[in-house]
Amino acid sequence: MGKVWKFGNAINTDLITPGRYNMTIDRMELGKIAFIEHRPEYAKQVKKGDFIVAGRNFGCGSSRETAVYALLANGISAVVAKSYARIFYRNAINNGLLLLIAPSDFIDKTEDGDALEITGNEIRNSTKNISAAVSVPPLMKKIRDAGGILEFLQTHKIEDLEKP
């Protein structure tokens, strides 16, 4: 069970980790600057296991993987959005950050502070008493199960990603 942090459409990487704050390669530091200007209370109050729920095109903008590292540093259970931008999506897959796509209706009804949990292939909002089916693509599952692509490559060849 985790608390919802609700965001709108087109949350870009400059809002998640603004370019001029992320001159560091310390992942925990990045956790502290997540949404620093867009939503200053977030980084102070976010707890391990919380969820980010957002609209369309989450993570658009730059290729900076800092956006993914920051959310991992915050201990986010999953991002649940209507759609994602492609580089952010890849970066999340490579790092084992769970990204789920949920129907618009579920996302629109879910509000800040609601309680969410994932059980099997279902995501449930127990505050609003609604749920939606979610699925994890096979590649995302394979890499997540290994703990990330780097961990996967420590015991596999990259070609093994192609295999079913």
Binding site: A10, N12, D14, L15, P18, G19, R20, N22, M23, T24, I25, E37, H38, R56, N57, C60, G61, S62, S63, R64, E65, T66, V68, Y69, S83, A85, R86, I87, R90, N91, N94, N95, L139, G148, I149, L150, L153, Q154, I158, E159, L161, E162
Partner: protein, 416 residues
């Protein structure tokens, strides 16, 4: 049987087998690019999986996002990357924005460039597949020479007609962005064609492809042709290449046709790329800064456009007019042709080649009260500094005309 798309053909060639659209494939890369921000994050991941890079000659590291270093932190990142490059025998380039330098000196048609930067699609103007990735993908590619990719669908954009005077490739891509929206090409490739594409030289094509990143595309691409040959010859690195294009019966996810003769000077209003309006609609809006720079629009052709509008005149009093040539080559040409002397005389601030003010790190950071007309690619909230600053994206011509007046200005009134 359905034909194949250009991108499908190049990926198949690299993978050594016929790939289908939608298929997940491991594909060898021809170039790996990373810069002072993304490479710094790739080094530790690289060391987790390898000791030596797959081929140091295929790896291109750039100091462009914050170079020369604006602060101690940035300088330390440069040092970390220098140590890595030295240990691995990789060359570091400090000659301007990575995408521009790659196009000038390295990127070849029908190849696959993996770039740890979102504007890597710029190089699609060379007829190569140039895709933006993150630091982990760059680390994996430096170690293995390969990347996992999903063979993408293609959106075909046909350009027809002739561009009117005062209208430039930037106006074209902003018009396309408005129609497709900021996520309209998500996960897909945008391939440019139509009878007008032959009128777009490589620098113009780089601008078109650069901004495909802003509509969510995996990349933009213009099939290599006579124009590409012309550019390679001018860069003194032409070698014959195969002319590859999508088959006549290739399946495109969407096809859009634009009559470019109807396009007008356009601005993207803050804070979204697809909030585009004709310049005439907001003409007269007061501004405090003009940024003529970035991998989108600060090639020699762009400086020439601005020079022709501004020569013999003065920058509006109090306005910050920052000129940041995209590369050392552009900088030196602009010196030789006298553009920089003229810009200096009119009151411009000339910055060293690189990303400069585009990403709000140095050399033109905006404050709460700033309103900027920029030739770059992103007008997101906080992109160039304060989240309260406003950024309008425009062509070099609109930027130049606006710099003369201190307000948003239609460049067509300066045409002779």
């Amino acid at each position: 049987m359905a034909g194949e798309t250009l991108v499908q053909k190049i990926f198949s060639q690299n993978a050594g087998r016929k790939l289908s659209i939608g298929e997940l494939a491991i594909v060898p890369v021809d170039y790996v690019l990373a810069h002072d921000t993304t490479c710094a994050w790739a080094i530790d991941p690289f060391h987790q999986i390898a000791e030596k890079v797959f081929d140091p000659k295929k790896i291109f590291l750039f100091f462009d996002h914050a170079f020369p270093a604006p602060n101690v932190q940035a300088s330390l990142l440069h040092t970390k990357i220098r140590e890595f490059a030295q240990e691995q025998g990789i060359q570091i380039y400090t000659d301007g924005v990575c995408h521009q330098v790659m196009a000038e000196r390295f990127t070849y048609p029908n190849t696959f460039l993996l770039g740890a930067d979102s504007h890597t699609p710029t190089g699609g103007g060379m007829g190569a597949i140039c895709i933006g990735f993150g630091s982990t993908d760059a680390a994996v590619a430096m170690a293995t020479g390969k990347a996992w990719v999903r063979v993408p669908e293609t959106i075909r954009i046909n350009l027809e007609g002739k561009l009117p005077a005062g209208v430039y490739p930037k106006d074209v891509i902003l018009t396309i962005a408005k129609k497709l929206s900021s996520e309209g090409a998500n996960y897909k490739v945008v391939e440019f064609g139509g009878s007008a594409i032959k009128d777009f030289d490589v620098p113009s094509r780089l601008t078109l492809c650069n901004m495909c990143a802003e509509i969510g595309a995996k990349t933009g691409i213009v099939p290599a042709d006579k124009r590409t040959e012309e550019y390679l010859r001018a860069q003194n690195r032409y070698k014959p290449f195969k002319t590859i294009s999508s088959d006549a019966h290739a399946q495109f996810a969407e096809t859009h046709t634009f009559d470019i003769s109807k396009i007008v000077p356009t601005l993207a209003c803050p804070p979204d790329i697809d909030r585009d309006v004709p310049v005439t609609e907001i003409e007269g809006t007061p501004i405090t800064q003009v940024f003529l720079g970035s991998c989108t629009n600060c090639r020699i052709e762009d400086l020439e456009v601005a020079y022709n509008i501004m020569k013999g005149k003065k920058v509006s009093p109090g306005l910050k007019f920052i000129v940041t040539p995209a590369s050392r080559q552009v900088y030196e040409l602009a010196l030789e042709r006298g553009y920089l002397m003229e810009f200096s005389r009119m009151g411009a601030i000339i910055a060293p080649p690189g990303c400069g003010a585009c990403l709000g790190r140095h050399m033109g950071v905006l404050d709460d009260n700033d309103v900027c007309v920029s030739t770059s690619n992103r007008n997101f909230t906080g992109r160039m500094g304060s989240p309260k600053a406003k950024i309008y994206l425009a062509s070099p011509a609109t930027a130049a005309a606006s710099a003369l007046n201190g307000k948003i200005t239609d460049p067509r009134k300066y045409l002779k």
